[in-house]
Amino acid sequence: MSRLVAFAAIQGGYNIVSKVEGKYKKALETYNADTKVGFPNTAYYLPVIYSLLGIKVETLEDVKKPLDFARNLLPPHVKGHNHLPYLGPLLDAGMASLFAFEIEEALRYLEEPDFYLPSEEVDEDAGKIWLGAADDTVMRKRGVEFVDGSAPGFAAIVGAAPDPEKAKMIVEEYQRRSLYIFCAANQNGTTVIDQLREADVQVGWNTRIIPFGPDISSAIFALGFANRAAMAFGGVKPGDYKTILKYNKDRIFAFVNALGDVNAEWAAAAAGCINWGFPTIADTDIPEVLPTGICTYEHVVSNISHEEMVQKSVEVRGLKTTVSQIEIPCAFGPAYEGERVRGADLHSQAGGGKTQCAEYLKMADMNEIEDGKVIVEGPDVTDLKEGETFPLGIFMQVAGREMQEDFEPILERQTHHLINYIQGIMHIGQRDIAWVRISKAAVDKGFTMKDIGVVLHAKFHQDFSKILDKVQVTLFTKKQDVDKLTKQARAAYKHRDERVENMTDEDVETYYSCTLCQSFAPTHVCTVSPERTGLCGAYNWMDCKASFEINPTGPNQPIEKGEVLDPVLGQFAGVNDFIRKASRGAIDHYNFYSMVNDPMTTCGCCECIAAMLPSCNGIMTVHREYAGETPCGMKFTTLAGVMGGGASSPGFVGHSKFNITQRKFIVGDGGLLRMVWMPKSLKEELKERLEKRGKELGCPNLIDMIADETVGITEEEILPFLQEKGHPALSMDPLVG
């Protein structure tokens, strides 16, 4: 009966809020009221409180307001048979608990700054297995996977399974279905994370198993992640709690698995999650709440066996997940993409500077190849001893009536993540600098080289059936074969690069829209042209073209660019017409090549954000991975918060890393020569291309003139540097007006 749930959860709510009030009082006695509190590297303060209440908690003093709010939210207890209605009170008590949890965690960050490891990976050696709140960089990086569908949702697991084997079974099943697994709380001191480590399962963001924290309060990090996604990608304004929660219900497919006995505090947390539309599926016999309404389907489903837990959970949440059924001895799926093969686990490897490793995909005639054929030319892993290296050439031949040469690089690029999807195999790099590491575990399971071919064949058919009919894969492991293939491949790379490099926006009449993020950023419409790749960095013009051929009704639609309204700023009549329709009148035009005048809209997915620096008469850009301050006065996360959600914000524009060195990059505002500041790491990443592009612009040492954080993080600090170096931006026309 729901009454028992309500009774327990409301009781739990009182316990939690009182406990946190006590902790807060103690903290006030220990620290000054103006002591900073918060989670690391986020522009969203305490994100659940900020997103739902619009309250910015920055200091210990600021905590009072949301904590008082939580206290006032606590409803009367449920009394007797003839009780008053309790659904609303139950949800309020849950919400009050969650606000209190977030404050409790903020206090923990203050009092035990080393409790959590601010990293994507655990540090087993140092015994740091709890990662705490995901910072904004992680949230955006992983958020994109929710956007593009490579992660269909997340399972928040609280407690522990009866034994490590069951924990492993459940979590691996979620991994196979590509879900993230957010873990918190313990059952009598045991956590799922402990169990997984015991069962030799790698945990961390890379394997999608996130050890948030050992207490129920750390479950709040999962909700903070979800709400930030709503703000960052959905453009929902902080304080607009109705929209945030509806967004979560409709678009974030998350749910709670309660493993083990459910106490009052867990009940309160579960009740809180129902506000998000996140149901709870429990392995114990707790009262069920089946009618729908707040969640899409049931609210609490109980007594589910561990074998059925995963299937039941996704069903209750109304989520369709797919498991790639590929005939190889190892598990396979996106969840294994980020898994590492560390030195101690390594069986053998190819590439990585030790041997040559290259991959090359080539279009073939229909008659030339045999579909599904995998040839291993040379010794297999089974012939290798532990710790050995070997050369590797992966030669993929693809034929199909709709296949075009232009699709070769797109298919070839899939190799990286597809090989990574195999559990126990790690793939780094691409083309002729690939690196494949094979773990002992994979070999123990029976992995052979042939399996790489099996995976590529199966996945190519699955994902690209519209354009290909036949796939044949040859794996060369003898040096002379690999060298031969590498030579062929390099010629092909050169040919492709030149073709793409020389393709200009003027060359084509058709651009492509990209609305891939619309499930998350409903008002944003990207337009991708040859010289303006998608701002997420994932899609260039050629990708969009291929995507359209593969799926004509998909997120990439051709746009006839039509009349050129402004060749300098890059405005096209056909594009304007399209975005007016696609944004339902919200945006009626934008410019491709300007950040000053009506720039393109920006979703939360962008790799970099450029901003004007008026005193330097130039611009800066910052990429997602850089967490520090920038001369425009905002960190990346703040910029993304201001810009995201499909707005056109003059003075700022989101763009991909690659776009910086494309010839049309803000050419309407003066082009790359305007660039006066970039984070050092971004400069290094783009070094080669920046040098090349600088040369083209007649400024070969441009890269050295661009300031970075080692020079300064304010305009005042970097201006003398620019003057000293004679940065071209200083002598250009004024940026504004």
């Binding site: 003839n82 009618p291 309404g293």
Partner: protein, 678 residues
């Protein structure tokens, strides 16, 4: 035959026929009290119903006494009429004209009762806004701001280009002016019509029935039904609809809104119902009638420590308030004051011998109360200038909002003083039932998801998925021509058994409370599996008490919220819902029925309708009217059939909306998610 025997027979022949308590009511407390009254030789409405038959022609609606050439009586022949209906009055008025005119005059009277109640509230509201009285304040500022918005009164003000919150007193004053203006404004239409779903508003526009102001539509009925004016039943009914809408979307709705602002918007609370709430050792004050304006103050005064001390000084252990009729509902909803009984129990409350004072205001107050009170120590106090009684034992203490506290204090003290005058003949039945009342548009929304997710969508979702089959508004009076509460309870039980969630007001609410249907645990006993599950999830009874008869406007607004929250429906007539008044008797019920019908609700009445003598007119309101408004009248005295008609209608609507089949569980893929509407 001996003289003695003859005398005996004579006495027996002359002794008036008495009511059979079991046949008169299903409620045991009421049965006991009927027996008690009969023992004491006091006649009650139940006895009088046994003694006097209703006029058969009036019952059919075909008696015209609108001029002195009549009354013209046009009864329908027993076998009906074949061929042309040649019946007509002296002026030639047909049965249709006569029945329609009578029907309209009932609407006018009902609308007048609700709306005059509303006007009185609006006037007190004005005094409160002007701060002319200490007794009344703006209690619920959130509601004030919400109502202000609906009345087109700005809640913000521009100061030097900055938007600021406007002074609450200023808002209240403008709301008071805007509201009072609705009764007699010279131009335009009622502001609240715009609260209706757009398609309904358009229907009203098309049909030409948008009320201009509240009073005018009542006046126009009196004009049009005068001899020799409107003699086309269809045209008459247009005005009937317009006047009723001026009640539902005008006078009643304003009464509810302004009462909420002054007295607080109801939130769920626990209380009790039936005569057993009266306490032998307490001063029992029964408040009866319809307006909460005075009773609010009586509630406040009777809780004051000095007054309680005074009561104790007279030997009482405290003061027990109890309500009857809609005053009961008003003070129940806002303060949890228990309901002593329904309309038909008003005499019985005095017959307990423990009623130290009965305070009455307006509407549904039996004149016979004075005769009953005469037999006991009970002080019967009328308080309203428009509602006095001729009997000498009735006191009149005219209530005036400017001296509300003094008036209330005087009345309560008089009751306390009277406690010591009680005779030995006290007999309070023990029956009482717990009830959870206090629902309203706002509190239902809250309880459907709390502060953050509260929305009618939760309700809609369960209607769409079929756990809740539909909604029913079951309302209205008691009628001594039927077994007290039998139809109320049978209809409601049949509905909830079939998974129909019931919203109740008026005496139906009190009847359901007495039967224990307003408790969450009744869901487990009486409901179908779907409704039971929803009730258990939300923690609500399967029957939600929305208040008094002016609060039927809450049902209209709750239904409007259902539309707004989304689903396959666009108009009130699309919702799988139906209305019912199983034991109606007052003219107000006819007005309510007509505004429900004109708002698109299929509305079934029990007992009978005063239209049966004019089959063509009857057919018009029970069939053709649906084409105009989407709703129509129906009549079915048998409670089970009555409920089944409603359920059949609900099922018809479910089919029309495409929700008659089990909803599939949709497992969303990424593509599905990308296709989600913004």
């Amino acid at each position: 035959m001996t003289e003695e025997k003859k005398a005996k027979l004579k006495v027996a022949a002359k002794a008036p026929k008495l009511a059979d308590p079991i046949a008169a009511t299903i409620d045991t407390a009421t049965q006991q009290m009927i027996v008690r009254a009969q023992q004491l030789g006091i006649d009650t409405v139940f006895d009088r119903a046994a003694q006097m038959k209703p006029c058969n022609i009036g019952l059919q609606g075909t008696c015209c006494k609108n001029c002195a050439m009549g009354p013209c009586r046009l009864p329908l022949p027993k076998g009906g009429i074949e061929g042309e209906d040649k019946r007509k009055g002296l002026c030639g008025a047909t049965a249709n004209t006569i029945a329609a005119r009578n029907f309209l005059r009932m609407i006018a009277s009902g609308a007048a009762a609700h709306s005059d109640h509303g006007r009185c509230v609006a006037e007190v509201f004005m005094s409160a806004a002007r701060k002319e009285t200490d007794a009344y304040q703006i209690k619920d500022t959130n509601k004030l701001i919400a109502v202000a918005e609906k009345l087109g009164v700005s809640a913000t003000v521009e100061v030097d280009g900055e938007t600021k919150d406007r002074d609450i007193d200023e808002i209240a004053l403008e709301v008071a002016h805007k509201a009072l203006n609705e009764w007699g404004k010279p131009e335009g239409e009622l502001i609240y019509l715009s609260r209706a779903p757009q398609p309904l508003y358009e229907k009203w526009t098309k049909a030409g029935v948008k009320p201009r102001n509240i009073d005018r539509e009542i006046v126009e009925i009196m004009h049009r039904t005068h001899i020799g004016v409107d003699q086309d039943y269809k045209n008459l009914m247009k005005q009937g609809a317009r006047c009723a809408l001026a009640d539902g979307w005008g006078g009643s709705m304003l009464a509810t809104d302004l009462q909420d602002i002054m007295f607080g918007t109801p939130y769920p609370l626990q209380s009790e119902a039936n005569l057993g709430i009266m306490k032998e050792d307490h001063v029992n004050i029964i408040i009866h009638g319809h307006e909460p304006v005075l009773s609010e103050i009586i509630v406040a005064v009777s809780q004051r420590p000095d007054i309680l001390k005074y009561a104790k000084s007279k030997g009482a252990r405290g003061i027990q308030l109890g309500g009857i009729c809609c005053t009961a509902n008003e003070i129940l909803q806002r303060h949890g004051v228990p309901s002593a009984g329904t309309f038909l129990q008003q005499e019985l409350a005095i017959i307990t011998g423990a009623c130290d004072a009965m305070i009455v205001d307006i509407q549904c107050v039996f004149q016979n109360l004075a005769n009953v009170a005469k037999c006991f120590h009970t002080k019967l106090i009328t308080t309203h200038p428009i509602a006095k009684m001729e009997q000498e034992n009735v006191m009149h203490i005219e209530f005036d909002e400017h001296h509300a506290l003094e008036d209330a204090e005087r009345i309560v003290k008089m009751a306390i003083d009277n406690f010591t005058n009680r005779g030995s003949e006290v007999m309070i039945p023990r029956q009482k039932a717990t009830q959870i009342a206090g629902f309203g548009v706002e509190s239902i929304q809250y309880h459907l998801g709390g502060t953050f997710r509260g929305t009618y969508y939760t309700l809609n979702d369960n209607i769409i998925n079929g756990r809740i089959r539909g909604l029913a508004g079951v309302v209205g009076c008691n009628n001594a021509r039927t077994r007290h509460n039998e139809a109320h309870i049978a209809v409601v039980k049949e509905l909830i058994k079939n998974d129909v969630l019931v919203l109740t007001t008026g005496c139906n609410g009190i009847a359901c409370a007495m039967e224990g249907l307003l408790t969450p645990e009744s869901a487990g006993i009486y409901c179908g599996p779907g409704l039971k599950e929803v009730c258990e999830t939300v923690g609500i009874p399967p029957v939600l008490h929305l208040g008094s008869c002016v609060d039927n406007s809450r049902i209209l607004l709750a239904a409007t919220e259902v539309i707004k929250a989304g689903g396959p429906w666009k108009d009130l007539c699309d919702i799988p819902a139906a209305g019912s008044a199983p034991e109606w008797m007052s003219e107000k019920a006819i007005s309510i029925g007509q505004y429900f019908v004109s708002s698109g609700v299929y509305t079934v009445f029990g007992v009978t309708l005063p239209t049966t003598g004019a089959p063509v007119f009857h057919n018009f309101i029970t069939k053709d009217m649906e084409k105009l408004y989407g709703g129509k009248w129906d009549i079915e005295p048998d409670p089970i059939k009555h409920a089944q008609l409603m359920i059949a209608h609900i099922d018809k609507k479910r089919k029309e909306m495409g929700i008659d089949k089990a909803r599939e569980r949709v497992l969303m893929t990424m593509e599905d998610r990308q296709a989600i509407e913004r």
